[in-house]
């Protein structure tokens, strides 16, 4: 495959079967390898699409400053595209984010503004909104509320899945900004009304839920409950265990949030087996494991890894 530049190679990622983790020939699991994107995660789709749309409607032009609350993959994707297109990039992220992330962001020239660890990304969103109000000339693409985030998946990820797996019965992905699930979910429901859309929500350590009061809670503006069939909360020990299984049984080196999606996918698969139904379950490999090596998730026993992961933001 040949492309004019790196950005052109976005998407069209492989969908691979998981013969060893699938419970039977009638109940099959399929993994969409979104780590095969330009900066190594599914967030490239949303980030590039949000930038492109903002350029088209004139919100972004050369020399602009992009501001985004992000401690992870979206920031990395935006920093890369900002570098290529000549934008200044400012990320707001919790101070307890891993060293790799900070280095990756700085490598592509992003400036980092730290928000307090207490409250996790809630706090980063709040701080970013304040900064946006102070700098009206900056452009906050705002992944949690920008319809172009979900639109990217409606136009690309969804159609790719259906083309590769016309017999799809379930789609499972991690729930964060909700962009992937909303976009792919809406597209698949239009094409396959019977399809089940399943969210795997990471359950973190207590620090992340350390709000001062319940009214400080946060639901992404993009979230529309009616698109989902159901939603599972996946604890970190289960996510870690599945991440290891993916590695040892199928050879796939994925990030920890992918273990969470696999956990939900396997739950759905077991239900289908019990009900004696055929199922073709697609789930998303959101990124590879490289950025999580320093968390210790892949070394020693599962128990040791769980202990090391306690209190860290793993998805």
């Amino acid at each position: 495959m040949r492309f004019d530049s790196l950005l052109g190679s976005l998407g069209r990622t492989p969908l691979v079967g998981l013969p060893n983790l699938s419970p039977s020939p009638r109940v099959r699991l399929w993994a969409k390898l979104e780590d095969r994107n330009p900066t190594g995660s599914i967030k490239d789709r949303a980030a590039f699409y949000m930038v492109e749309q903002a350029e088209k409607d004139g919100r972004l032009s050369h020399g602009c400053t992009i501001l985004e609350p992000t401690s992870g993959n979206t920031g990395i994707s935006l920093a890369m595209v900002a570098k290529l297109r000549g934008y200044r990039m400012v990320c707001v992220m919790p101070e307890n984010t891993s060293a790799e992330r900070k280095q990756l962001l700085e490598m592509w020239g992003a400036e980092i503004h730290f928000s307090p660890a207490e409250g996790g990304s809630n706090e980063a969103v709040r701080v970013a909104k304040e900064m946006a109000a102070q700098h009206p000339d900056w452009v906050m693409l705002y992944q949690y509320g920008n319809p172009d985030n979900a639109r990217a998946h409606y136009e690309t990820t969804g159609p790719e899945l259906l083309a590769d797996l016309p017999e799809i019965t379930h789609f499972v992905a991690g729930l964060g900004t909700t962009g992937t699930l909303m976009g792919v979910g809406r597209y698949l429901r239009e094409q396959r009304p019977e399809v089940q859309i399943v969210a795997a929500e990471p359950r973190y350590g207590e620090l992340v839920y350390g709000l001062r009061n319940i009214d400080e809670g946060f639901i992404p503006e993009l979230y529309d409950e009616s698109v989902l069939t159901t939603r599972f909360s996946v604890p970190s020990d289960a996510a870690l265990k599945r991440t290891r299984e993916l590695l040892t049984m199928e050879g796939i080196f994925a990030g920890i949030s992918t273990g969470g999606a696999l956990h939900a996918a396997l739950g759905v698969a077991q239900k289908a087996v019990k009900a004696g139904e055929r199922a073709d379950i697609a789930f998303v490999i959101a990124d590879a494991g490289w950025k999580y090596l320093s968390t210790g998730a892949y070394e020693g026993t599962l128990e040791e890894a769980e202990e090391r992961l306690e209190g860290q933001l793993w998805a």
């Binding site: 609350p69 992000t70 992870g72 996790g120 969103v125 009061n213 909360s233």
Partner: protein, 92 residues
């Protein structure tokens, strides 16, 4: 019949600091009514106008009860109910 209910940090001032408590009831709604008798005020922190508060998520054996039968969801001995505030989460 006892069901384990995991309490988030933000509500533990009502449970004398306990991370998990037990309650009884055939449905989630009954369980919350029972908990409120044991830990006065917890019902009002979870519900508003007879519905789960917007920023409160409740999971029965890790599945979001909003996709089950809400407050009418049957609960049984040995089930685990987890209460969590809705947050923006980790690394996006």
């Amino acid at each position: 019949m006892a069901t384990e209910v995991r309490i988030p940090t933000i509500l533990r001032n009502l449970t004398d600091g306990a991370k998990a408590v037990e309650g009884e009831g055939a449905t989630l709604g009954e369980l919350i009514t029972d908990l409120d008798k044991r830990y006065a005020g917890i019902g009002e922190r979870l519900l508003e106008d007879g519905k789960l508060r917007r920023f409160i998520n409740v999971y029965l054996n890790d599945e979001d009860v909003r996709f089950l039968e809400g407050l009418d969801t049957p609960v049984a001995d040995g089930d685990t109910v987890t209460v969590l505030p809705a947050v923006a989460g980790g690394m996006r």
